[in-house]
C-alpha cells in the first residue's frame, strides 16, 4: 500500500512539471516513453477505482449526468461529498487547476434540462416507450441530451425522430458502436436543422445475438455505417439492403472491434 501511495505521489509531482516535458521530439521516443507510463500506472488505478475514494472516479459521478428518470439525482449529489471524506495523503503539490470547478457543476441544472424533460414526456406517450431506459444530459459533451433505449424500439423511435414535426432529426452526425463486454451499443448522434438541437441515442444490443434493426432506409447515411458496424463490431442489421463487409475482406474471420477478438491465423 505504501508503495502504491508513493507511486501516486510521484505522479502528482510530475503533474505540475512544466508542460514542455511532455512527450519527446519524435514519435518513436514518445511511444516508448508512454508505454512505460502505462505499465507503471495501470495497476494502481485499478485498485483505486475499487474503493471509490479516488478523485477521478468521484468526478465521473459528478460529471456524467444528472439523472432524471431513475431518480438517482440525490445519489449523484450526495456521492461526491461522501467520496471526499477519506482524506488523501497530503500531497506536496496541488491538484491540477482544471479539476476543481467541475465539482460544483452538477448543483445547477443544465440549460438543456428543460428541453429534455419536455421531450421525454412526449416520448412517454409513444407506443413502446417502456423501452426507454434512461434520458440524461451528458455534461462533459457540451450538454448533449442523450437517450438510452433497448434495441427493439430503435426503428420505431428512428422513424419518429426523423419525421415528427417536433423532432426533424434529418442529419446523422455520427454513427458509432461500442462493445461494453456486457452488451453492445449502437451510438447515433443526430442533429435537427429546423430546431437546431443535438441528440445522442444509445441503442443497447444483446452481445451474443447482436441484432438490430436497420435504419438505412430512414437515413441514407446509415447504409455504409451499418456495414462498417457489421464488419468491425459484428452487429447484424436486419432489413439492411446490402449487408456486406466494407473494410475487411469477405473471408475475414471475426469482428476486430469486439473486445474478445483474437486474430484468426490459418497456420496455427
Amino acid at each position: 500500500m505504501s508503495d502504491q501511495e508513493k507511486k501516486q505521489e510521484r505522479e502528482l509531482i510530475t503533474e505540475t512539471k512544466p508542460a514542455n516535458a511532455m512527450g519527446e521530439g519524435t514519435v518513436k521516443n514518445e511511444s516508448s516513453n508512454g508505454e512505460q507510463g502505462v505499465q507503471k500506472s495501470d495497476a494502481p488505478s485499478q485498485e483505486v477505482t475499487g474503493d471509490g475514494s479516488e478523485p477521478v472516479s468521484k468526478e465521473q459521478d459528478t460529471q456524467m449526468s444528472v439523472k432524471t428518470l431513475s431518480g438517482q439525482a440525490e445519489e449523484a449529489v450526495t456521492k461526491p461529498q461522501a467520496a471526499s471524506v477519506p482524506p488523501r495523503k497530503p500531497a506536496a503539490t496541488p491538484r491540477p487547476v482544471a479539476k476543481k470547478p467541475v465539482e460544483d457543476k452538477p448543483l445547477e441544472p443544465s440549460r438543456k434540462q428543460p428541453w429534455l424533460d419536455k421531450f421525454v414526456v412526449k416520448l412517454k406517450d409513444l407506443e413502446g416507450s417502456e423501452h426507454l431506459e434512461d434520458a440524461f444530459i451528458n455534461r462533459a459533451n457540451l450538454d448533449l441530451p442523450t437517450l438510452v433505449i433497448k434495441g427493439e424500439w430503435w426503428r420505431f423511435l428512428a422513424l419518429h425522430l426523423r419525421n415528427h414535426s417536433d423532432c426533424q432529426f434529418h442529419y446523422v452526425q455520427n454513427f458509432s458502436s461500442v462493445d461494453y463486454e456486457t452488451h453492445l451499443e449502437v451510438v447515433v448522434h443526430l442533429f435537427s436543422f429546423p430546431h437546431k438541437e443535438r441528440l445522442g441515442v444509445r441503442i443497447k444490443v444483446d452481445r451474443t445475438e447482436a441484432k438490430a434493426d436497420s435504419v438505412a432506409d430512414i437515413w441514407d447515411a446509415a447504409n455504409w455505417n451499418e456495414r462498417e458496424a457489421y464488419d468491425l463490431m459484428g452487429i447484424t442489421f436486419e432489413g439492411h439492403p446490402d449487408l456486406r463487409r466494407i473494410m475487411l475482406t469477405d473471408q475475414w474471420v471475426g469482428h476486430p472491434l469486439r473486445k474478445d477478438y483474437v486474430p484468426y491465423d490459418e497456420g496455427v
Binding site: 511532455m22 460529471q63 456524467m64 462533459a140 459533451n141
Partner: protein, 365 residues
C-alpha cells in the same frame, strides 16, 4: 439505333484519378453509367482498434495518417474531444497557434484539391501553381514542428512547440502574398472554357439528399445550407473572429470549385485576424503527465477541409480510451457517389468523383 450491351468496367484501385486506392465497379451501357459500386477498405489500417491500446498522446500521430493532407485538423479532433472529457483549460496562445495551423492547413488542403482536380480534367499548369504555394505552407509547418505532412503537433492541453522567432511574420507575409495570388488562380482557371464545360451543371444533388446522406463541409454548403461547425458549434476561439460561410447556388461541380476558392480566402482572413491578437504566453495548460481521462462519453465534431470530422470517445477512466471512433467526412461524402453517377456519361465520372474531394486514408480509417 446502335445496339449496346451492358459491360462491367473496373476502375481502380490503382487508378490515378481516384487519388488513392478506391475501386469502382461500374456497369456501363455504351457510354452511360447504369450502376456504380464503390469498393473501399484497401487502405484500412484499423486505427480505431489500434487506439484502444494506445495512450491519448500516442494516438495523435496515428490521426495524422487519416486525412494526410490536413493532419492538423485530425490532431485537433482527437485532442479536442479528450479535452472536453477532461474539462481542461487551454492557454490562449495555444488556441491561437492551433487556429493558425488549422487554417493554413485548410488552405494547403484546398490547394491540393484544386491542383489535382484540374489535373484530372487535363490541365497541367494549375497543379504546378498550387503545389508551389502549398510548398510555402509546408515549409512553414516544417519550421514549426519538423514535419511536412504528419505533424503530430497538438497535445492534450496545448501544442507541442511554440512558434520560432520570426515565424509569425513569415505567416503574415504568406497571407498577404496568397491573398493577391488568388487573383492569379482566378485568371488562370475560373474563365477557362474547357474547365467550365467539364464542370458546369454536373453532379447536382438536392438539399434533402445532402442531409440524408449526412454530407458535410463544401459538399453540404454547395447546396445552399450555410452550415459550418466553426460558427455553429463553436470550438477553439473561432467565435472571436469574423468570417463568412460561402454557399453554392446551383450545386454543381463548378460551384464546389468557387466555394473552395472562397474558403481559402476566408481562412486567410481568419489567420490574419489571429495574427493581430496573438500574444506571448504559455503553450501548454496544466496537464498531468499520465493522462487519465474521467469516465464518460463524448462526441465532438470539428470542421475539417472535407467536412465534419468527429471523434467519439468512450472512456472508462483509464489512460487509454475504451473505444475511439472517428466520424470521417470523406467516408460519409463518398456514399452519395453511386446516386450522382447513375445515368451520367462516363466522361463525367472523373469530374464528379474529383468534386467530392475524398482522401482514401480517411475513407478507410
Amino acid at each position: 439505333m446502335l445496339r449496346t450491351e451492358e459491360m462491367l468496367l473496373n476502375m481502380g484501385p490503382q487508378h490515378p484519378s481516384t487519388h488513392g486506392v478506391l475501386r469502382l465497379v461500374i456497369k456501363i451501357d455504351g457510354e452511360i453509367i447504369r450502376e456504380v459500386d464503390p469498393v473501399v477498405g484497401y487502405l484500412h489500417r484499423g486505427t480505431e482498434k489500434l487506439a484502444e491500446d494506445l495512450t491519448y498522446t500516442q494516438i495523435i500521430p496515428y490521426t495524422d495518417r487519416l486525412d494526410y493532407v490536413s493532419a492538423m485538423t485530425n490532431n485537433y479532433a482527437v485532442v479536442h474531444a479528450t479535452e472536453l472529457l477532461m474539462g481542461l483549460e487551454i492557454p490562449e496562445r495555444a488556441d491561437y497557434l492551433r487556429m493558425i495551423t488549422m487554417e493554413l492547413n485548410r488552405v494547403a488542403s484546398h490547394l491540393v484539391w484544386v491542383g489535382t482536380f484540374l489535373l484530372d480534367l487535363g490541365a497541367m499548369s494549375p497543379f504546378l501553381y498550387c503545389f508551389k504555394d502549398r510548398e510555402t505552407i509546408l515549409n512553414l509547418f516544417n519550421e514549426l514542428c519538423g514535419a511536412r505532412l504528419t505533424y503530430n503537433y497538438m497535445r492534450v492541453g496545448g501544442v507541442k512547440w511554440d512558434a520560432p522567432d520570426g515565424w509569425l511574420q513569415k505567416v503574415e507575409e504568406f497571407v498577404r502574398y496568397m491573398q493577391k495570388e488568388l487573383n492569379t488562380y482566378h485568371d488562370l482557371i475560373s474563365g477557362n472554357d474547357i474547365f467550365l464545360q467539364r464542370t458546369r451543371g454536373i453532379g447536382v444533388y438536392t438539399k434533402e439528399q445532402a442531409l440524408s446522406y449526412a454530407l458535410s463541409g463544401s459538399n453540404l454548403r454547395v447546396t445552399g445550407i450555410p452550415w459550418d461547425l466553426r460558427q455553429h458549434q463553436s470550438y477553439s476561439l473561432y467565435h472571436q473572429f469574423q468570417f463568412e460561410i460561402p454557399v453554392g447556388e446551383i450545386g454543381d461541380v463548378l460551384d464546389k470549385y468557387h466555394l473552395r476558392m472562397q474558403e481559402i480566402a476566408e481562412s486567410l482572413k481568419i489567420v490574419k485576424q489571429v495574427l493581430d491578437v496573438i500574444k506571448e504566453g504559455p503553450i501548454m495548460g496544466k496537464v498531468p503527465k499520465v493522462l487519465r481521462v474521467p469516465e464518460g462519453e463524448v462526441y465532438a465534431g470539428v470542421e475539417s477541409p472535407r467536412g465534419e470530422l468527429g471523434c467519439h470517445i468512450v472512456s472508462n477512466g483509464k489512460n487509454k480510451p475504451w473505444r475511439l471512433k472517428f466520424r470521417r467526412p470523406s467516408f460519409y461524402n463518398l456514399q452519395i457517389l453511386p446516386v450522382l453517377l447513375k445515368g451520367e456519361n462516363i466522361s463525367n465520372l472523373v469530374a464528379i468523383l474529383g468534386g467530392i474531394d475524398i482522401i482514401l486514408g480517411e475513407v478507410d480509417g
